[in-house]
Amino acid sequence: MDRIEERQGLLSALPLSVLMVLIFVAPLIVVAVFSIMPPRVFDVLHMPSFENYRIFFTQGYYRSLGWALGMAAMATVTLFVICYPLAYAMAKIFKKFTLIITIAVVVTLFVSENIRLFGWVLTLMKGGLISGYLRTYAGIDIDGWLYNVPVIVFGLVYVYFPFMLFPLVQGISMVPEEVRQAASDLGASRTRIFFEIDLPLAMPGIVVGSLLTFVLAAGAMAESKLLGGQAVIVMADEIEAAFTFGQNWSLGSALAMILILIIGSLAFFALSRVDLDGIMGRRG
């Protein structure tokens, strides 16, 4: 029986694994190789050099990385605060309403993120939904809210909301009600229960949710382009520019490698610490 499972596991993992090696691992290897080629070459038949990585430090690209990581961190913290009460209610209080919220949130995931962000542009721009109606009917003149850092963070919070919410719901629903009840019976305050029972026991969901939002936001581009104008340039923007306008593939690859290494190691760290079977609901 075990031998059969061993073989069937391997066989059924094969199609997806082969696909992923071909379309995920191989391209990343190409990027890694290109990143140590001299600037502005389009093939890999040159002497390796670390010139591109030097450019990252000397020409201010680290600032774009700083913006990307900083705004991602702000978005992650904000999202945690916004989502926790709702996630708690979805896991422990609501009954039918949990399903309604779940469906309502999932549906937005299927709408292209640039359509949703464009909706915010229409809402927030000068002469947009809010400022246009305020001017006409209330006589208040507002310049609009676009093209600054807070609105980019707002866009990240908006787009990555589901990626924080659902892992949190999963995590909080893993906290056994009996343990909370026992703590409450023994006289623990709500704050104490939150810090000493809820948070530690819901940690797998919190880790997955925070990590997912952080890495996705760190690699995001549409928010800073559509909502932020050119207020700040994030890392993904620089990577794209190096490939398109700059025609400098090796620099683009080096910048991509830096982002990939940061994100990849965070993701790897989180995935290796979390019990996937537990989160996804294996029984027993």
Partner: protein, 272 residues
């Protein structure tokens, strides 16, 4: 633990507020799509359906729809097949490298999609493939195949291995067990995975950006028009794309509910 009524109501209002907030930009776009003005400003003075008429008559929009549709259909089919087998390896069978396999499959979901698209562009260049809508299929799969696998895996976790063992004890071959027992049991999960795959591919922009070559998908066109050369068709086409997704979600949900009911009715019939 007991929660006072006031807290329940407050949380309920909080949830409703967040959902309203989530849909606000979509409402704004729909609203804007009826404005007659060529250059959109609010408040809207005159309303019209003309952008919808123009969108339906436009050959460009028809081309975009066809391209997006072709990509989404192929992505869906491939995701369902590899997702089915992948989910068995992910959740059902106990085998030596299962832990490593799970992590490997989840890794692409954490990567920025733009970077994945660029990496693929360089990979295509290295092996001499010219990007078209077909290469975009490959790009979408990097992100969508793992998600489809996860969705089937959730179903596979609640699967009772005894059913497979029983079939095998009664002399069914491995292939027969797979086809007659495993596949029907996982089918609702596979259908949802297909639905997710289709919709995620339909709406995807960052993975398409560098991998469609000269072809354009609907989200790519919308983005191009938003960034430069605004067209009054943008809100109308955007709204249509959203309405299309919503209809599909409705049909998909109806199908899942219907097949669950039918299964329940059949097993109730078998017990009688």
């Amino acid at each position: 633990m007991h929660h006072p009524r006031s807290i329940r109501i407050a949380l309920l209002c909080y949830g409703v507020t967040l959902i309203v907030f989530l849909y606000l930009p979509l409402a704004a776009i729909t609203f804007a799509s009826f404005s007659k003005a060529r250059y959109l400003t609010f408040p809207i003075r005159r309303y019209t359906f003309q952008w919808y008429e123009k969108a339906f008559a436009s050959p460009t929009v028809a081309d975009l729809l066809t391209t997006s549709l072709k990509i989404a259909i192929v992505v869906t089919v491939i995701s369902m097949v590899v997702g089915f087998f992948g989910a068995l390896a992910f959740a059902r069978y106990r085998w030596r490298f299962r832990g490593a396999f799970q992590k490997f499959i989840l890794l692409p979901i954490f990567f920025p999609q733009t970077v994945l698209g660029l990496a693929l562009l360089m990979w295509f260049n290295a092996v001499g493939i010219i990007p078209t809508w077909k290469t975009a299929i490959v790009a979408h799969l990097v992100w969508i195949a793992p998600i489809a696998t996860l969705i089937v895996a959730i179903r596979a976790y609640s699967f009772d291995p005894a059913l497979e063992e029983a079939a095998r004890d009664m002399g069914a071959s491995t292939w027969q067990v797979l086809r007659e027992v495993t596949l029907p049991l996982l089918w609702p999960g596979i259908v949802s995975a297909g639905l997710f795959a289709f919709l995620l591919s339909w709406g995807n922009f960052p993975l398409s950006l560098f991998t469609t070559g000269a072809d354009l998908t609907l989200p790519e066109w919308l983005y191009a028009k938003m960034v430069s050369g605004y067209s009054p068709l943008v809100p109308a086409v955007g709204t249509l794309s959203v309405v299309g997704s919503v209809i599909l979600i409705g049909l998909g949900t109806a199908f899942v509910v219907w097949s669950n009911r039918r299964r329940a009715a059949m097993s109730a019939g078998a017990e009688d």
